[in-house]
């Protein structure tokens, strides 16, 4: 017996045609699944009434891995096979894994992404994530009573192509149809209905279990643009627990606590932290395995003092994000709190003080991202009238390719709404060139060396032509999940080549932030560098053409003196090509151009004479 949900007016589905859609917040510490039922977004709970699924997977000898609370409980006993915070490894090579040595896992480097050696064999982060998603999918199907049409999965705004692709692969492995990947801060903004406003600038402060992210979003015409992101990938609620734990150890003068005692005290620390959200003091009362009895009272005041430095650590990236975005407090139209740790009173107060406004807190900060994802999923499967809101996402960094001289030519600019397709025409540099190497890069800087290389491929089989005659159309296409494919086609011959960009490893959030801020701070140097490279390419081309002409008929058409003048100008240009002054370089190129003007005119005359000689006037077709 299927149970019915209330539909929007006129949108009641036919029997067996229900489009069940879910939103998944695949978190570093915890994951959630939500859906829209009878018009309201709600998080789905498991049989025990728990909404949060700890993002922990434990591989066992045979059978299905344990996921969630059970796995979390075994973390200390079975550290090699119990994988937590796998999100940090998504789409990363071993050298990109932050603090790999500090984790208990046996990492194995492998092309593309690290693998973790478990008793069930080598597991990639994609497979581990898929286990988490599989559990959430099962929960959703049991709750909704049917097959799922699709899911929206959230990812951090700073996730690059490799990390997004890895997330999508994990979903596919878990048997989920991914409707779209959505940026976490955007999902939070949707949950609060901020997308219903016509425009505004919103700041999303996300303090989770182990990560802190700050994102500044600008909404205009239904599109959320990520203006700036920053954060600290090793700061979260766990650090607050740790602070209380250290305080207990110090207060009770505990010497060398056993592993079990330490775990017990940490969980008491966490409980005390949670109690202090609503109370002014928390009691910590326990007997350790050594027989030592502990009875302490932690006041909210002490707790706030102990952890003030942690809060300060969130405000530094916040300030930086605001600076990157070039925004002042007056420009912010709303602040959203995300992540369970933002329940702490002093966190809220610090955020309110910093932004000089009360943050939005009426939704459960643990659930807000999943709720927003569910609303987006519901919209994408067509259970909601789309004219109400049409939300688009944007690409975080510009995509382009390398042109002659190591310059990055942007094909799709940063913040273009996706899906998007853009094409641009390029040509050959040398006479008779039959292949073009296409180097796809991501970033804001003018020189390829400062951008991130995504992929390389070659277009071969271009018919030999003079330089500049071939017309190579390069098309970039970014799908709704922010994944890129690039194709190149030579227009006159039709030869083509295509690549799907699955970059081998990812960028860290710091790197993305750095790449962005570098592009601002280096704008002037970049521009000069671009000018210099462009002038060099022009200069080289001019030298090549002049040399070719001299070799061909210079001895016929030029006197020794004229020839010497041209060669002197060429020599000056050659010297300037190695210099750094683009203006001097340009002048040298211009003077070579002037020096060869007479020569060029004579060549023209000579070729006309050649064409005309031996022909009678009346046979000429004029």
């Amino acid at each position: 017996m299927a149970l019915l949900q209330i539909a929007e007016p006129g949108l009641c589905a036919d029997p067996h045609q229900h489009r069940l859609a879910i939103g998944i917040d695949l978190g570093t510490t915890n994951s959630l699944v939500a859906t829209v039922r009878s018009g309201s977004a709600a998080v789905l709970e498991d049989e025990a009434g728990r909404a949060l699924l700890p993002s922990v997977v434990r591989y066992v000898q045979v059978g299905i891995p344990e996921v969630g609370v059970e796995a979390q409980l075994r973390q200390t006993d079975d550290p090699h096979n119990t994988i937590a915070s796998v999100k940090r490894f998504m789409g990363r090579g071993l050298k990109d894994v932050p603090g790999a040595a500090a984790t208990p896992y046996r990492f194995v480097d492998s092309p593309g992404m690290v693998r973790i050696d478990t008793r069930a064999g080598l597991k990639s982060p994609v497979e581990v994530s898929a286990e988490i998603l599989r559990v959430l999918r099962g929960r959703a199907e049991a709750s909704l009573g049917g097959e799922l049409t699709g899911a929206v999965i959230t990812v951090p705004a700073y996730f690059d192509d490799a990390q997004r692709q890895a997330t999508k692969d994990a979903a596919r492995l878990a048997g989920l149809n991914v409707l779209r990947l959505l940026n976490e801060p955007t999902a939070a903004a949707i949950a609060y209905g901020l997308d219903n406003a016509s425009q505004g600038v919103f700041c999303i402060y996300d303090l989770g279990g182990g990560t802190f992210d700050i994102s500044i979003l600008r909404l205009s015409q239904g599109v959320f643009e990520v203006v700036a992101t920053n954060g600290d990938s090793a700061l979260g609620g766990d650090d607050f627990d740790e602070c209380i734990y250290r305080w207990i150890v110090e207060q009770a003068a505990i010497v060398d606590p056993t592993v079990t005692d330490a775990r017990l005290l940490l969980s008491l620390a966490r409980k005390a932290k949670e109690a202090l959200t609503d109370h002014d003091e928390a009691q910590i009362c326990v007997t350790l395995s050594s027989g030592q009895a502990i009875d302490l009272v932690l006041t909210a005041e002490t707790f706030f003092r102990l952890t003030a430095s942690l809060i300060a650590k969130t405000l530094a990236p916040t300030r930086k994000a605001m600076r990157d975005a070039g925004l002042g407090m007056d420009d912010i139209d709303g602040v959203v709190l995300v992540g369970g740790s933002t329940r702490m009173r002093h966190v809220r107060r610090a955020v309110a003080d910093y932004f000089q406004r009360e943050p939005l807190t009426n939704l459960d900060p643990d659930k807000v991202v999943a709720l927003g994802a569910a609303m987006q999923a519901n919209l994408l499967v067509g259970n909601h009238k789309t004219d109400d809101w049409l939300l688009l996402d944007v690409i975080p960094l510009s995509l382009g390719l390398e042109t002659m001289g190591g310059l990055a030519e942007k094909v799709i600019p940063r913040n273009a709404t996706i899906p998007v397709a853009r094409a641009q025409e390029f040509t050959t540099f040398k006479d008779g060139q039959t292949a073009i190497s296409i180097h796809v890069v991501q970033g804001e800087r003018e020189l390829v060396g400062d951008c991130r290389s995504l992929a390389r491929f070659e277009l071969r089989g271009i018919p030999p032509m003079v330089a500049g005659a071939a017309r190579v159309r390069v098309a970039f296409q970014v799908d709704a999940d922010g994944l890129l494919s690039v194709s190149a086609q030579e227009q006159t011959s039709g030869v083509q080549a295509t690549i799907e960009v699955k970059p081998s490893y990812g960028l860290s959030d710091d790197e993305i932030a750095r790449m962005l801020s570098d592009s601002y701070s280096n704008a002037q140097t970049d521009m000069n560098a671009r000018n210099l490279r462009e002038q060099r390419v022009d200069g080289l081309r001019l030298l090549e053409a002049t040399q070719a002409a001299l070799d061909q008929d210079g001895w016929q058409l030029l006197s020794d003196a004229e020839r010497a003048t041209i060669e002197r100008a060429m020599e000056t240009l050659r010297v300037m090509l190695n210099g750094q002054d683009h203006i001097a370089l340009k002048r040298a190129a211009e003077s070579l151009n002037r020096a060869t003007a007479q020569f060029a005119a004579r060549r023209m005359d000579a070729s006309i004479q050649r064409a005309l000689s031996g022909q009678r006037l009346d046979t000429l077709e004029v």
């Binding site: 017996m1 009641c12 029997p15 309201s40």
Partner: protein, 107 residues
């Protein structure tokens, strides 16, 4: 005969209406489709239609068009939980047989 909501159904509907922030009530209906002839529809109401017949149950306004009422006379709408799944269920005395899924029926 009337159309009624169980108390739990009424509470749920009220909650959903509140969360939705608009709407005057709940529309029950039937339409011809599905594997067994007729199918239930359940929708929020933003505008009442001239022919609508209105019932009131635990403070919730229930609207139904006269054609559907013929098939739904005496129905109670209940809100039930089955494991993790939860939703509304039509207890319709007119039904002779329904398909296995319960989404469509025959009178």
């Amino acid at each position: 005969m009337a159309i009624t909501l169980s108390e739990s159904a009424a509470n749920r509907v009220q909650k959903f209406l509140d969360q939705r922030g608009k709407g005057v009530g709940l529309r029950l209906g039937v339409r011809t489709s599905g594997c067994s002839g007729m199918a239930y529809t359940l929708e929020f109401v933003d505008e009442t239609l001239p022919d609508d017949i209105t019932f009131e149950s635990f403070g919730v306004t229930v609207l139904i068009d006269p054609k559907s009422l013929v098939f739904l006379e005496g129905t109670e709408l209940d809100f039930v939980r089955e494991g993790l799944n939860e939703g509304f269920k039509f207890n319709n005395p007119n039904v002779k047989n329904s398909c296995g899924c319960g989404e469509s029926f025959n009178v």
